[in-house]
Every structure is written in C-alpha cells, then in structure tokens.
Symmetry: C2
Subunit: 458 residues, 2 copies
C-alpha cells in the first residue's frame, strides 16, 4: 500500500456533509429556466407546485443559494447507507500496469443498488413534510423506482410506480424488490390514466416507453388529491441532492491528501455526473482549481456528442414543462441498450450549460466495449458493476492506459454508481457473443431533431 | 445517536485481524475426527491429500494451534471487500421499541453476496501455492460457487463448478456471475463423471441434489491431474477461515466499548455461525466471559434440534470421509426451502461437539416467519437480506421483543451473512401468499436416520 493510502476510505459519520451544494450559485451562465409549453414563459413556482412538492420547487428555481442545509431526518437516513467508500483501485492499477492512481466512489452498497437513494429520500421527506399522501413516478431500468420505494416505506408514504411494460415483464425481480418496500407497481401504458388508455387504444400491444410512463405518472399525480410527481434525474433539485456524492468524494480525497486530475462519470439524465462533479466544478468555476471533467454516454444515445442544445419536451405526452438541454429530440427512441438508466433523450440543464460553456468534455462508449471494461473491472475489483457505471469504468481505463504510455502519474476519479445484479440478462448476451452495438444514423437524428418544439426564448 | 455509537463501525485496515483463530485449540472435547469409510480409522493426512490441498489438510487436522497467520496475499485480497461493517440497527430498534441494542455484522457487500468469499480466497490461495491447475466444487444456492469463481479468477486458477441442475435452470443469473469470473458451470448430474452418468441412467430427468453434485465434484478432482476438491462449509478449515468474521466483530465491539450478551447466527453447514462465534466461544471455553449463543436453522431441515449426533456420510455418493455431526441422515431430502444455503443434512463437527457439550443452543424458524422478519428488516434497515441470513434476523427480533417485555437492555449481535438479490423468486412467492411451511414428520426422520452407517468409534 504505497503512501499509506488505504484501499477504502470511509469518512467518519461526524465528517459527513451537513449541506448540499448548489452548483448553480457559482455558475456565471445560469441554466436556462423551465418554460410553460403553452405560453413560452418561464414556469412560476405556483405553476410547478401543482406537480411537484413545494420545497422541491423552491430548490428547483433557486440559482443563488450556495448551500442548502440537509434536514436532520435525511441526515439520519443517510447514515443507514452512507458515507459510501472512496476506493483506491489498486488491483485494477496493477492489472493495467499504469502509473496513474485510480479512485472510485462506490454508490452501490444499498438495496436500491445505486446512488438514486440520495435524492429519493430527500423528495420523500419533503412530500411527507407537506402532508401529502403519496408520490408517483416512472421507472425504466428500475433503480429509481426501487430507491423511491425504499424512501417512501421509511416515511410511510404511498408510492405509485409506473414501470415501462417491457421492463415490468423482463425484470420481475426489480418489481419484487419494490413490492418488498410496499410500492404499487403498474406496467405502463396502463388503463389507470387517460393518456395510458389513449396509447393502448392507438398502439395495442405496445410495450411502453419511458416518455409514456412519465406522462402517466404526472397525470396520476395531478388528478389525485394529496399526490405529487417526483423524478430521479435531469432536474436541478436532483443534482442538488446528489451533490452529496461529490462532497463526500472531495472530503475523502482531502483526508488522504490527494488531488484529482480527471473526474469521470456516466451520463444519462445527469443525476450521478452532476452530483459527483459538483464541488470540483465549483472550484473550477471560482478559479480555485482546474480539473478535466469527462461525461461518458452510450454510443446509442449520444445527447451531448450528437444532440442539439435546445428547448425540448421532457416527456412524450408533452405535459411536462419545456427544458433547455442537449437533446436528441423527445421523439428519439434509443436502440435496445442494456444501460437502461442512460436511455434518456435529453440531459440536465445544468450540465448542458456547463458543457456548452466548454467546462467539461463528453465521450461515447459502445456497448460491447463497456461490457469488456465491466468484466475486466469485476474480475480484479470484486464488484459486479451496473452497465451504466461501466461507461465510466471504460473511460477511466482508457485514461489510465494513456498514462501508461506517457508515464504521467495522474489521479483519476470516477463514479461507480451501482451494481449489476439485475442486469445479468445483458451480461449473458455479452458472454454468448450476442451483444450488438448500435450507432444512430445522421438521418435518424435529423428526423427526431426536426420535431423539436419551436420556442422563442424571452 | 446515543452514546456516540456510530451507525456503522468499520475497523481501520490497520486494525484488521492478522491471524485466523482456531477454536478447536480451546475446546476440551475436540471435534471427532473424519473417518475412512472403508476401515473406520481416522483419516490420515496422506489420505486426505488426494482430495484436498496439502496446507488445507494440515489446517483440517490441527486441533492444537490456536492461531494461523493469514498469508499476505490473502490479507491483500481481504482488503478488497473487508473489513465488513458492524452495523448498529438503530432503525430496527426504534421500530420494535426495544431497550435492547442490536448489532449486525454485514457480510453481503461483495459480488459473491455473502461471507463465502472469506474461505474461497484462502482455499484458492493454497491451491495456487501448491502449483495446482484448478479446483472443483459443487454449489446449490450458488453463493459458494460465485465466491470460489471470484477467488479463482484472482489467482488465475481453473474453476469447475457442479451446480445442482434445478438451480442451474432456475438461477441463470447466478450462473452468469460465475461465468463473468471465468468459471465453467456444469449442471449436475452431468455426463462428465461416472457417478453422474450412473445417476442419469438410473433416474432419467432428475433435477439433481447437493449430495450428488458433491460426489461429481470429488470424482472430477481425483480423476484429473492437478485438481483438488474444495468445500464451502462444514469442514474445520472453513470455520478457521471464517473466524475473520468473529474476530472483526469482537474488535469492532471492543472499539466502541460494547460487550455482547447474545450472539445469533443462521446454521446450515456452520460456516457463518462457526466463524461469527469463534472468539466469543473461545472466551467462554477459557472461562473469561459468558455469552448466550444461538444457532437458527430452518424448521424444514432441523439438524441440531431433531437430528442425531452420529457418524454419517457427507455426500450421497458416499465417496467422502465419514464425519461425526448432528445429522438428519445423508438420505434426508429437505423439502423445497428457499434458504438453499441451509439445506444440508449435517452440521460442522466443531459446532456439533459444542452443541452436544451444552455450550450453545439451537432454534428453528419457519420459512414464512423468516420472510416476515426479512421484509420488516429490509424496510427499516435498507438491506434486502438473503433468506439464510433472515433466520438470524427472526431470532434477533424475538430476543429484542423479549427485552421489550422485561425491560432488559441486552446487547444482541447477529450475523447478516448476505443479500437476497438472487432470491427474489422466493420473495415473490411470499408476497403472493404462496409460500408454504414444511415440518418433516417423525416417521420421515426415523426413516432417514435408520440408514446411518454403522460405525464403531475407535
């Protein structure tokens, strides 16, 4: 163990962050506001409060407050599964023969299997505080639905999850975990909502989509007294809560006397990446330190690298506000890709603005090379990574191998967002040589981008 | 947080145990030796070395050495996933309203999902050290096979796993994890071995059994140059390696100034229970401290509570040595019970002797009440427990509720051996009200016990 740096660094509970960090406060160019799709005007708090919890709307709209106190109830819950370890990947370094130092922040040691719990517990708390009966949401891969079920069970809130039908049928185990936590899980499109009925009538036998499940969950919330809709990614509030990942990472690095050179995270809607990089990007924005920050997205769903920075719908039903983001068009249907958590057509407005300002870079990774990296990692580091997380592993390995060539001793930090226990169908395809890569054609992207809503920014 | 006791206590890496503790050294009545089924004489080292690795045979037979140095290579590997946390179950205590303090040692934070890795890495190390090509084993529930695959991948050893056919077919995900680690997984009975062919011929379409898979794995090892057979439970060597669980538990309790009153572990073959209780039982044997020690076994496979203390075969093929243990008879077929890891007809010789000497007690738990406890635990403690581990949870809750009645502030420690991500078919049955309890009849047990081998102890 060189330099006496342990394999795993855990903060003491007394060293855990007491506040979430709001990156927007340090951004010169603020993320673009959500717009009312009818009027084209920025959404007002009153408008959003019909859909979202009151305190969360406040967090959503606040671009100025640098830190938000974490309520005691949430800090207590965090102690159930946090602090998460910052792991020195000594075994991987040895395998690669790199002079680089590799660290990963591992968020998978809880039953939801991912970092999603960091925000679900916050959102459930504010719903309870507001005296609500329950919340609704959608889930694709199932990590967010599981995390929300756990949080709602803790605060004794009703939890209604609309699960994309194909996942509901193909991932019965995910569904059972949610049921263990008392959630009701409905395959989407369902007959519970008007939009579900309409889609079922128009497309009999459809296996559903994330965009459709969002629309159903929102409709369910706004048509039932005492319910609100909650979302696991993309929104500013989610990135605020997820800043706990980056804050702990930074504190652990400081504790062992390390400074990161490169920070890498996978990017779907941006919940993990935005949380992981928050304090580092803050230092960069304030001119205190520089970091190379890399977002990794699937080749099959390349919002940053091949999308357009524009206002777009968040859902296919077009009942949510418009968000300005790097998008492939809300009509874009990502090809079957087992990193279900990265199959979203758009990207967090905060991250989109930072990327547009040249403060971070983005890369794509092909599915097969992601699974190669996942397996290489699993064999030496003893963790079976989620396909989403493995996008970051892939690029971390690439960067470590570059250091091997140049002899540079860079410090690489990446986010290992979760475990792959529910992704073994994908691993099986990979082992059997049946996994295929998919690159959307230019024509395909042109077609979906042509349908972007016409919005005049005011 | 009363008394400033943290939710989770991690030892520093510098505080991790450097030696395994051999409980046998402190036992007045030593566990009975393995016997040669042909001669009835105690097995000699030379005889065992045809089946097992040399160093492991030495550990198996040594009833005197109190501590064994953990080799550096194993200590390094342990740092990949150890120390495991000792968790204060504040949330469970609050839910139960008990004055008792509840702690659990959680062994599930690694991809094998259980404590089995503690011994598999040791066994793989000694196989490598001996210059072997590989090892063979059997697996039922799949935890041991997964753990061995990880260990063999690390030391670049060939790993052949005979997986009970019904599990192979019903648990394809377990199989995929093993394949991720490069193991070859064969459904048993197979056509690879003479005994497999014989069983397939006699029972066409059989879905296999653990006893049969053991026989196949042993035959495969002894008929291939450079291979040995390894086992995940029951044997003395396994309990020696698993003492790391108890040693860490004891060290963590000492660190926070706690003394356990009651120690609870689930018991199948005894690998977890024997490891968890080792240092505590040691103090008890040496008269330094007293502890109430409770083994919990499934009502459907009650070796301690309804078995006989006698010499018996370890496998159905009767090619392994005879072991003296609490047994239901090697012919006993446990009813379908989802705690696959506890479905063994016998029990570790060490634990059998301790139980016979009145140094520990044993209780049974019915499957449905085990799952009730599992769900209650999952909802407040945020970990989805394995069915095996949940036997210990059930009795920990019972004891905590007794304290609630009497007002006693006992300190309860139990072993949470693993996670239930691969047991969701069982959770689903439980949620759907389709889970059944099963109590073997007296006649059934009489019948299988009547077939115990006649052994004259010398």
């Amino acid at each position: 163990m060189p330099n006496n740096i342990p394999y795993k660094t855990y903060l003491d509970e007394s060293e855990m962050p007491l506040k979430w960090y709001n990156l927007r406060a340090d951004m010169k160019n603020k993320p673009a506001p959500l717009l009312n799709p009818g009027t084209g005007e920025p959404m007002k708090a009153e408008e959003l409060e019909g859909v979202f919890c009151k305190d969360l709307v406040e967090q959503e709209l606040d671009n100025d407050t640098q830190f938000f106190e974490i309520p005691d109830e949430i800090k207590e819950f965090y102690k159930m599964y946090r602090p998460s370890p910052l792991v020195r990947a000594y075994f991987l370094e040895k395998k690669l023969g790199t002079p680089a130092k590799i660290y990963y922040k591992f968020e998978g040691n809880n039953t939801s299997g991912s970092h999603k719990l960091n925000s679900s517990i916050a959102q459930a708390y504010y719903a309870k505080k507001q005296g609500l009966k329950g919340v609704t949401t959608e889930t694709g891969a199932g990590q967010w639905g599981t995390a929300l079920s756990m949080a709602c069970s803790y605060f004794d809130l009703d939890c209604k999850v609309y699960m994309v039908k194909v996942s509901y049928e193909q991932k019965p185990f995910r569904r059972e975990v949610m049921r263990t936590y008392g959630a009701s899980v409905t395959p989407s499109p369902s007959m519970n909502t008007e939009i579900g009925k309409k889609i079922n009538a128009e497309h009999p036998g459809t296996t559903g989509s994330l965009g459709c499940a969002i629309s159903e969950a929102v409709e369910d919330a706004v048509t039932h007294e005492g319910y609100r809709y909650v979302l696991g990614s993309v929104l500013n509030q989610v990135l605020l809560h997820q800043s706990i990942i980056g804050l702990e990472t930074k504190a652990a690095l400081d504790k062992i006397g390390e400074k990161a050179d490169i920070i890498i995270g996978c990017a779907g809607g941006g919940s993990n990446l935005g949380g992981l990089i928050a304090p580092f990007m803050g230092e960069k924005l304030r001119g205190e330190n520089d970091y190379q920050i890399i977002a990794v997205e699937p080749q099959s769903c390349p919002s940053f690298t091949r999308g357009r920075y524009a206002y777009d719908f968040c859902d296919t039903g077009a009942i949510c506000p418009l968000a300005k983001m790097y998008t492939l068009g809300s009509d874009f249907i990502p090809a079957p890709n087992h990193a279900g958590g990265l199959r979203y057509h758009g990207m967090s407005s905060i991250l989109s603005q930072l990327y547009d300002d040249g403060l971070m870079e983005a890369r794509t990774a092909a599915q097969t090379e992601v699974f190669e990296a996942a397996e290489e990692f699993a064999r030496v580091e003893g963790i079976l990574p989620a396909p989403e997380s493995s996008h970051a592993i892939k690029v971390a390995i690439d960067e470590a191998l570059k250091c091997k060539e140049t002899g540079e001793e860079k410090t690489i930090v990446f986010g290992l967002t979760g475990t792959g226990y529910f992704d073994l169908v994908a691993y099986e395809k990979f082992h059997d040589g049946k996994m295929e890569d998919y690159i959307p054609t230019d024509e395909e992207l042109e077609e979906s981008l042509a349908k972007l809503p016409k919005v005049e920014e005011k």
